[in-house]
Symmetry: C2
Subunit: 404 residues, 2 copies
């Protein structure tokens, strides 16, 4: 044994002497390697049950498969489920059956690459119903709008649902070119909050890396925090955000809860306050992909600290508060999709976060880990069950029910 | 749908009005609930293979089961493997077979409770061979030494291995009463580093919450950082540590790498420098179990920041550098046992951490998640394979080999 160790140590030392850094150890390379994706794991054919930490035994049902990289879903009052696919199609599931025909009326969006891979362009993204949908039948969505040449941007559009198709579709807000991912949510006052990825998160002249707020016709609310400031984009509600894939309104307080992806660590959930700076890229809990810390400090005066953060990253995505009674042990908890679990290639999970009455975190639980699926979105259905979208070429809608 | 939603929101609002906190949402309770432990999951009977992120396909072999809460292992030059059980017994595995007879000569230790449960007392803990074992046959170990009444402390003991039993066993260092968990490692200069849990991590008059350093006979090295300071424990090498279950010497630089458990988040790996303060409980990345942040800041001038931290906690345990050639894609990586994975009751995993040449983290990978085992220790064997201990009533030694 000793000889083997000595040889190993000697070769290590020789390797070190050949290097420059004082602390160098041999390793494959110093470039982050994208884990080779395992093939998408098949979902089980029949419902599968899991025990969870709280003693809440659950059953996971595949409602439908056959969705191409679904991003978001919305529940129609008649029981239908609208699903937006990144590839640009709007689909509908009726009585648990996915209509093979996409819904007409959706504008062309730019889509490229697989989710999470370099150079991916998002395509059709978030989808919500107007709070007055029962009367006005308005559906809102965001998408990557193609511009001239290779350029594109984020647009917020709306259309009227006539029971079969979207009509009167029009963009109500178009961000500056170069925008990234997007989520939308209606605030309590009927304005729309829209996350908008992209560059220049600290620059108030840019829509990039901002949370935006517009009225339901796309106009700027007069009480937006930067309205009237010279040269500042008036849609800006808060700044300093990185790729933001989750947005939800607190069911009691009406606060805007936003999540965003850190680089190499430092995913966050933030409670948004108007005009505040959430720090990217000046403060962060994460490292750069090359190893050095992103910032000198994880938090600093003048920047809003996250209410929840992750190290390492789980690649946070869609987010929802659970307020139902069907899964009673989860009532009041926050659910966040994860596109990456423990760096196991091609897998993610559903993260559940418990808070105390001051919304301070008590603990978290990783759910659906065994399914090895990237989770793009999570929403509470009108049946008070949770619905989850898997981010896959053959993506699925899953429903989480209580099991006996 | 709308009626259901309105009802849900109304009941939420009523619930809120009854409460006091402005942000209150309904949830089960505001006390951290220990997840109900699932029964220990059985390990597979035959070797099981996994793909890993680097394309390093591995095979996991159960070397032996039948160990009661094993804490540490040491490889004898003749191929035998010594294993320390928390319950106080030292065991030996020869040719893959666990000897049913415990090894004689180990002093009585105090052990109580299941690992990780409130009130647990550790018992027999860490185990290392003297660097000159081939000549002197000395084995070092730490254990919870019973004192009068209910009191106990940590002791560092050594004995001589005669091929069958430990002889000439004696305590060479006994910490003040009230100490917690412990790991030991021989530094390059032949001194012994010993983690020592317990209270008063900021108090230099106490051994609690300190990394200690003694000579191989238990005496104090004259170059310890606080030697000669009035009223200060001279064994102290660094301070401000929380429960420390992992300790390893960097194979190239000789630096002491220590890990420790945060409370509700904030597990850390630290590179230890003499006389420095690692901050517990004054700075931390974690929250208290009740929700509020442990500290106003995660880092601060005058305290050493961790080189790696976790949020949420994975309950870090034994730690090793992998320097072998048998698992070439893992060469240079750090491995850390986890006693908790995603809060899935009773499960843990093996965490692999990759660094760049400046020992800045590139990324992490969760291994063996599918086995649902709490991992207490990880060591590199003389065969350049990795050995892992599961923390269970029927605990196992696992060996990780390359698979074709």
């Amino acid at each position: 044994m000793k000889i083997i160790w000595c040889t190993a140590l000697l070769s290590l030392l020789l390797f070190t002497l050949a290097g420059t850094a004082q602390q160098k150890v041999p390793f494959r390379n110093n470039i982050p390697v994208a884990p080779t994706g395992l093939a998408d794991r098949p979902l089980p054919r029949s419902p599968i049950e899991f025990d969870t930490a709280e003693g809440q035994r659950i059953r996971v049902v595949v409602v439908t498969k056959g969705l191409t990289y679904p991003w978001s879903l919305a529940f129609l009052p008649d029981g239908g489920i609208l699903v937006a696919e990144r590839t640009g199609k709007l689909r509908i599931v009726r009585n648990g059956v996915l209509d093979p025909q996409p819904i007409a009326g959706v504008p062309a969006s730019r889509y490229a690459g697989k989710s999470g891979e370099p150079g991916a362009v998002h395509g059709l993204m978030d989808l919500v119903l107007h709070p007055g949908f029962a009367e006005n039948h308005l559906v809102y969505f965001t998408y990557t709008k193609p511009l001239e040449g290779e350029r594109s941007t984020n647009a917020l559009a709306r259309g009227r649902w006539d029971g079969k198709a979207l009509t009167e579709v029009r963009d109500i807000f178009v961000a500056q070119p170069g925008a990234g991912a997007s989520r939308i949510a209606f605030g309590r006052d009927g304005t729309i909050f829209m996350t908008n990825g992209g560059n220049d998160p600290q620059d108030l002249k840019s829509h990039g890396g901002k949370l935006l707020r517009v009225r339901d016709d796309g106009s700027v609310p007069s009480d937006n925090p930067f309205v009237g400031r010279e040269g500042v984009k008036p849609e800006i509600y808060s700044l300093g955000h990185r790729t933001s894939l989750g947005l939800a309104i607190h069911p009691v307080t009406g606060e805007v809860w936003e999540n965003e992806n850190g680089p190499n660590g430092g995913d966050e959930i933030n409670i948004i306050r108007p005009g505040r700076n959430y720090g990217w890229p000046i403060v962060s809990f994460g490292r750069t992909y090359q190893g050095p810390w992103q910032a000198e400090r994880p938090t600093h005066d003048g920047f809003e600290p996250p209410v929840v953060f992750w190290m390492p990253s789980i690649a946070v995505s869609g987010m929802a508060f659970y307020t139902g009674n069907r899964l009673p042990k989860w009532k009041g908890d926050v659910f966040v999709g994860s596109l990456r679990t423990g760096e196991i290639p091609g897998t993610g999970h559903l993260e559940r976060i418990l808070f105390n009455e001051k919304m301070e975190e008590l603990r978290r639980e990783s759910l659906l880990v065994e399914l090895h699926q990237r989770i793009r979105d999570v929403r509470q259905g009108p049946d008070e069950l949770l619905y989850v979208l898997t981010d896959a070429e053959d993506g699925a809608v899953l429903r989480i029910e209580p099991a006996q």
